[in-house]
């Protein structure tokens, strides 16, 4: 399928409208609302307690691990999407036939299975290493 940037013009236009709405709403509330500042209002709200220390402290390394694993699986998904869209499917009335020539079909099938298997190996490894255990 050929790519035409003009297909995406409505999205750009919509983006402009959306950002315009967000910005104008923020500006409007800034102009319309009252502004009476007191020291208490300016404090972080932590259920009425005076905050102790800064909020930006160390946090659990688990979050990094999750982020890295997410990258692995999300990139895998990105590889699979084009394949899924090109995959041979039954041609019914009015449906176009497959993109893939017949001789490639079983090759691609096994290749994808091997690909999924490699991901599963990584997944099992991560599980055994306790990445999914939250304490």
């Amino acid at each position: 399928m050929d790519f035409a940037l003009s297909t995406y013009y409505p999205i750009f236009l919509f983006l402009l409208v959306v950002v315009g709405f967000a910005v104008s709403a923020l500006v409007a509330t800034h102009l319309l609302g009252p502004s009476r500042r007191t020291p208490v209002k300016q404090m972080p709200y932590e259920s009425g307690m005076d905050p102790i220390g800064d909020a930006r402290q160390h946090f659990d390394v688990k979050f990094y691990l999750i982020a890295i694993l997410f990258l692995v699986f999300d990139v895998e998904l990105l590889f699979l999407y084009p394949w899924a869209a090109m995959y041979p499917w039954a041609s019914g009335p009015g449906e176009p036939s497959s993109y893939l020539p017949g001789e490639f079909q079983s090759l691609v099938f096994w290749e994808v299975l091997v690909f999924l298997l490699s991901v599963v190996v990584a997944y099992i490894y991560a599980w055994r290493r306790g990445v999914f255990r939250w304490r």
Binding site: T7, P10, F21, Y45, Y81
Partner: protein, 474 residues
């Protein structure tokens, strides 16, 4: 977009009414009859309330955060077709220039050159003189005739259905006659903000996942411990649930062979709804969508009892409203997606076919909106039915249960498609997996946690009783 904002506002009212009903209260009833004007009053209050920007925040990100949250949610909506856009994408010819080149047509050199320059995507004849794709449309009847002749020659040579054959089959399958294509205004309106986006659902996921930025920026820049915790939890949750979300859709893509949302609906109109074939994928998708929207069983990022407001603790006035609107827009978008992917889009009931003609368009729109509303109500009922998870349970659910299930589902679909098995085989497979996993969770031995959590002040008495259950999902 205005309609979307209005829907959001009234969804909030609906949410409050349903909450009230669930808790045996009355709910908002002061502004207007049955509180119907409440959303408008809320909007005005959001505008007129004092906007507090605390002194300790990172001002730029603090302001940008809610704007990102709202714009990404709204932008993700732009590919959702809420009505039939014509022409049906199924009809687009998928041949390349090269393939046309190979078809031996007896044409003069310059004529042939001309046809090739059209780059050849045939749409329904005489339908759109100015196609959104611009350059691909045959401009005159002569050109159209040439293209159709080329197509016929090519199809005969290759022994495949020609474009006209497919068009006829399509028309008969949909109960439409060619004259329907020349119908009036309603059929010619594009019921989608950005039509003909072939990557449809990928675009939706891509933009939707940008919403994490809004939340993380908002939470981090607030410089408040509760906001920070909320943002952290939220980012971990959103990215984790994105994987089962995307993977459950993979099964749908495989059977319908397209990322375009309309093509997926067309497929379901012909073959029956996807929920009938892949109930497991539908369940995974709905579960992940709940988490993506921060709806109640998964609303850890803003668990009121633990984190005050979560990432938007420090926000007030319109900035808070933007977060709120973004969340509800996300709800609407995802309900539409569930309907499109698994519940046959604008088809009334499976195998009923689509009503044609002018009235048909209205019926389709109404059916689609009705299904969407059903899902919204479902969202709200679940909120008052299922209690909130603990964070370790939340992460365990996606990584240890949903992800393997989604993988197995995809593999099943691949096998069924590859060996040309009937798609009904997917239904028992799906249900079997569901029962298997249910049995597994019921009978799994409850192991003790390997390293008991120690709370300060409780060291001598050991971990509290509920910690023993913690490893149930391990």
């Amino acid at each position: 977009m205005g309609a979307l904002q209005g829907t959001c506002a009234y969804l909030i009212l609906a949410e409050r009414k349903i909450s009230a009903w669930a808790q045996d209260r009355i709910g908002p009833n002061r502004v207007g009859p049955w509180g119907l004007l409440q959303p408008i009053a809320d909007g005005i209050k959001f505008l007129l309330k004092e906007e507090i920007i605390p002194s300790h925040v990172d001002k730029l990100f603090y302001i940008v955060g809610p704007a990102i949250a709202l714009s990404t949610a709204l932008l993700a909506f732009s590919v959702v077709p809420f009505g039939p856009t014509t022409p049906p994408p199924v009809l687009l010819d998928r041949r390349t220039d090269e393939m046309v080149e190979k078809s031996r047509i007896p044409l003069a050199a310059e004529e042939r050159e001309h046809i090739l320059s059209l780059s050849f995507i045939i749409q329904t004849p005489k339908m759109y003189q100015d196609s959104p794709r611009g350059r691909v449309w045959p401009q005159t009847e002569t050109e159209e005739a040439y293209i159709l002749a080329a197509d016929r020659a090519y199809s005969n040579a290759k022994d495949i259905d020609s474009y006209e054959d497919r068009l006829e089959a399509y028309n008969s399958a949909y109960n439409r006659s060619p004259k329907d294509y020349n119908l009036g205004i309603l059929e010619n309106i594009q019921y989608v903000i950005a039509p003909h986006i072939d990557i449809g659902i990928v675009f939706n996921f891509a933009i939707g996942s940008l919403a994490v930025y809004g939340i993380v920026l908002g939470g981090w820049s607030s410089n408040n411990k509760y906001s920070m915790l909320g943002a952290l939890r939220s980012s971990a949750q959103l990215i984790s649930y994105e994987i089962p979300l995307g993977m459950s859709v993979l099964g749908v893509m495989l059977v319908s062979g397209s990322l375009n949302l309309e093509t997926i609906i067309d497929y379901q109109v012909k073959h029956g709804w996807n929920i009938l074939y892949q109930p497991l994928a539908a369940l995974l998708f709905v579960t992940s969508v709940f988490a993506e929207c921060n709806r109640l069983p998964f609303d850890l990022p803003e668990a009121e009892q633990e984190l005050i407001g979560g990432y938007h603790t420090e926000y007030s006035a319109m900035k808070f409203a933007l977060f709120f609107l973004g969340e509800y827009t996300h709800m609407i978008t995802t309900s539409f997606l569930v309907v499109v992917l698994f519940f046959g889009g604008w088809e009334v009931l499976p195998w009923l076919g689509l009503p044609g003609g002018l009235g048909g368009v209205v019926v389709k729109l109404a059916v689609f909106a009705f299904k969407m509303c059903l899902f919204i109500v479902f969202y709200m009922l679940v909120r008052w039915t299922v209690p909130r998870f603990r964070f370790d349970q939340l992460m365990g659910l996606t990584w240890k249960v949903l992800l393997p299930l989604a993988l197995v589902n995809v593999v099943c679909v691949i096998f069924v498609k590859q060996f040309q098995l009937t798609e009904w085989l997917l239904l028992p497979l799906s249900l079997g997996m569901l029962i298997f996993i249910a049995a597994l969770t019921l009978y799994m031995p409850r192991q003790r946690s390997r390293a008991p959590v120690r709370f300060s002040g409780h060291v001598a008495s050991g971990p509290p009783a509920y910690v023993h259950d913690e490893a149930a999902l391990d």
